[in-house]
Symmetry: D2
Subunit: 345 residues, 4 copies
């Protein structure tokens, strides 16, 4: 912790700050600069509380922490990679994982047709929303339990793992009965009651970055789940909100290598929400592979024009198949670099 | 609804779009421009579903709605003002309402001392968090039920109404037993499970704008609560997230008059979270009164340097008292303009 | 300067960093924390160059400056207020200054009519663009020298001071012949060639904050002008770009008190560009007075519907007159607090 | 142009709007909706002026243009690709172009060493700043003409083309004597005096996207140059400003395919400014190739720790060489898709 005093802080004020820091269990190193005094605090204590307390003192200019605010999710805690084992494959390992399916489960016909097609094209996980977070109370809110049952049917028919969204801590148990991976949507990234419930859940969790969350906040939300007892968290970049309106969100593609420097957790990209426009999805998928993501989460629908939600950003089945062929070369390069990386360790 | 076709759309494509629109129950008005065809759709149907369906068609350039996506909260639904009656006073009426208190309830001494002081200085509502949304799982999470009980005690002693945060639909019933106003924090503005629960609750709700939510989304979230059966919603501007780091958030002060043009609901400002810095709070309070807000929600603590949370943005009791004196002139002008406004109708 | 080393930095790396810092003329204070070493650097040297050099070293986690990057514009350089004297009045002193006029000078009739009206209503400065920065090359680019001449005529007729925009260092001399205050638009806040030219100019400069500039960058741009020899700079908050589309920009009203804490320069608000909508201008004007700005820059037009630019945000003359009456009470409170402030020093 | 009237607009108001539209030379198509009247305007007129005029009318809710505001840079104006021919190679054609070099030209030794190294590694263009836009007046402002002369020397020695920044219309002639490509920095993207000067210049222009500019505004700035007579414009995505602080800027990688849908101009990516951090540059370079950019502009320095500017984001020469080898596979895939694309036309 580094505390810089206001320019004209008095000796008494400086001493009061030092005492406060010592109260929190830290040792003091004061530096007298030309302009102001700077105090370094070393040790183990309740950093947040100490920082807040110091920032509330009028003689303090700024108090900043030096150590990272998260622990279990950091690379410093675990050097290797977290690999999440599902039925017959791994996320975060040496295989690039495609997750695909419709925004919402709409009918048996729709979900089965999609499941069979994306499985055939190489996807390992089927996505489909049964509980839908919608901006308007008047929009379709999802098929709920009926949707979950249809997803189970699709799993039985195809062997695909199922990922679906959970919106409330109240529903966590129910969704976990049907899902292989529990999805937390962007709007719920800081729904702490939900994060705590997922810490106690035995399913892996895919945590989407909030619409205006920093990378650090995403890691803190993951820390909630891991500290709660569930180590299997997958992070997902899905675009952030900016002033640009040409796309639904602005994909922060560099968040992937940034996260890879900070955490051992797998990181995937959702190009459908990041762009909001079908024609832009394939290019962003290529970029996500090239940048080193562990997988993709893509919206696919047998008839996007008739989709009840997100039709404009859903690929037709043929487009998805075509994209999967096109991605092959990129995925080959991705594998080569994973192998090289492993060899280098 | 206005649908503009891509520049080189064929007759068959245009006809397909028109048919789709008619399927949703709308009438068609096509305009052939120099560059492209534009189609107007008139009538009553499921606008969102229709727009999504159209945007998913490759021949469509853009489809935009003309009518507002909310209904009950709009000025067009109710011309006057929603006035929320609490014990002995009103929010949204002809009195400017001050809500004040600590970020978190920490102890009986702390909350009682604050309650007595802010009441004496003119506040009508006591704020205090019992359930705290914290970015880090390692930070203080609130006193929970014990905190609620202390708030009740403070109400009994001072007559102040109580506002406190509810973080999960699961806790809505519990919090409603103690609170006069249920507060929804910025991170939960789109926690739709919570909004639905609050629609069924009999307490007024103070809904904070999400960190990167638009004014329209704030109104849509309010619509969830009102459409669910609870008409008593107070909106709160508390700053949005931007690139500027000199303040904790950027207060969108103009959101107040914008909301006043669009809705009949009361609108208040939270200058503490908007600025994150005690010294900036009084100036923003003056601005909020001047701009026409219905009230303020201000953090006050008997000893901010020892606060477990938000100390840097909490006013000392003496600062609060001083500010209340300073605001008097502004509140007098505020009342004059309310009276003039009423006379004009 | 505080330099925190990467967690596993070696002794040799730490020594290399210390040597680099000493090369730039600083003294070293190293602090060995539990997790990492932190180095404090004290003295006077080329901070920016030193910081950049350190950040380029792979063993360095972060290097931050403690002192402010600006000097002449800071409160620490000059304790009082910069007061800019124009013909018969002052900006930054004990009078609240209204500047008003059309976006563009369009004709003699238009500018004369506006000048007479705003002068009568209490404005001291006439605004009007002769050189117009326009997003599109196909839009009206201003009357140029003809416009400047009409502004001079309006000054002669009314006694108003003239403020008008300068867009290129090449035009600085020309504009200075006609203008009393040289306006730098948001798009040119970091046009350094222009800032340097204005440092050599004898006219006061009104510097608008860039669309996505931080408060610190605004002060750095002012520092260019002051360091170049021209101490008479007025800062202007005119809204920043955010994701919100309900208004043209988002007014960062708190920037006013933030700037008042950091600098002695006058600060004004431009509510017309900040909102983009005529009906929102009066409320923001009241807020700007309440928050402690030194003045306002408002667009007024005799017939906004026929304005060649910015009609939607220009007030009709009657609206301006009405607003000026309404502002009186707020300006009285403003004066009282200026007096109280002066008495307190 | 589509104009939607306010909900309770009177017949007289609607007629006034129609007349205004006709005055600008458009034909009218009115649509009476359930809630409000919408008017379509068809024809050729001064769209911006007409829109502004309509938006200034109080009875108008919103007026939006349907056609794009730019012309020469649009795909509708020119179907193929703009290919810019330099000495021995092309930008925008079937070769992926690497531009590399230091942020600033610092000395003959530095620029020659870099030039030789990047040329050997496969770069075709040497970057190097002689006029430097710096936030602080106290930072190194560039070697100016001396720097330009050193760049010319480097060209003579290596055959590399030279790209360097021009900051003022006053310098355009001078810089054009030395540069093969004129670079416009992000801060000058809307320096319209400069854009006009470059429209009259015979050198190709690389136009960087402004820090908070939309894709549409970038195209409008390009339109200034092309409409002025210079068709050879290269667009450059270099990251935009957001709330995220983990990187210097947020790279909007999807801007590349968005631009490819809208314009025939070449598009490149600057990963150095987009990330601000050397370790993130290679991943973003791979993504830029994968997404379909025409080239890259990368900062390379023989000794980044001693660079006078941007050291933290500059690659060491060995890192650059290593990255060039690694990119080969991706560039092969890039070429295959260019060939496939050409065959498809």
């Amino acid at each position: 912790m580094i505390v810089s005093m206001k320019r004209y802080a008095t000796k008494a004020e400086i001493e009061a700050v030092c005492e406060r820091i010592r109260d929190f269990g830290y040792k003091i190193h004061a530096i007298e600069g030309e302009e102001r005094v700077v105090i370094g605090a070393v040790g183990m204590g309740d950093v947040t509380a100490c920082l807040e307390s110091l920032e509330a003192m009028p003689c303090v200019e700024k108090a900043v922490r030096i150590s990272a605010p998260y622990k279990f999710v950091s690379k410093e805690f675990r050097a290797g990679r977290t690999i999440i084992r599902l039925n017959g494959f791994e996320i975060g390992g040496d295989e690039f994982i495609m997750m695909a399916g419709p925004c919402s489960v709409e009918s048996e016909k729709q979900i089965m047709e999609t499941a069979i097609a994306v499985s055939r094209a190489g996807a390992k996980v089927l996505r489909g929303g049964a509980f839908k977070p919608r901006t308007s109370p008047y929009d379709f809110q999802g098929m709920e339990v009926e949707g979950l049952k249809l997803l189970r049917k699709a799993r039985e028919a195809t062997g695909l793992a199922i990922i679906t969204e959970v919106m409330s801590d109240r529903d966590a148990g129910l969704v976990a009965e049907y899902a292989d991976v529990m999805q937390v949507g962007a709007r719920n990234m800081q729904n702490f009651a939900l994060l705590k419930a997922l810490g106690r859940c035995e399913r892996p969790v895919l945590l989407k970055r909030g619409m205006s969350s920093t990378i650090k906040e995403l890691l803190m939300s993951a820390e909630y789940i891991v500290a709660g007892g569930n180590a299997n968290v997958i992070l997902c970049e899905r675009g952030i909100r900016t002033y640009e309106t040409a796309t639904r969100n602005t994909c922060d593609i560099v968040a992937v290598p940034v996260l890879k420097e900070l955490t051992h957790l797998p990181v995937i990209v959702d190009p459908s929400h990041a762009t909001g426009k079908r024609s832009l999805v394939p290019a962003l998928c290529r970029a996500a592979v090239a940048v080193g993501a562990d997988g993709l989460l893509v919206e696919v629908h047998p008839c996007p024009e008739k989709a009840v939600s997100d039709g404009a950003q859903s690929l037709h089945i043929e487009e998805f198949e075509c994209m999967m062929r096109e991605l092959k070369g990129y995925i080959r390069l991705w594998k080569e670099s994973r192998v090289a990386e492993a060899a280098a360790v």
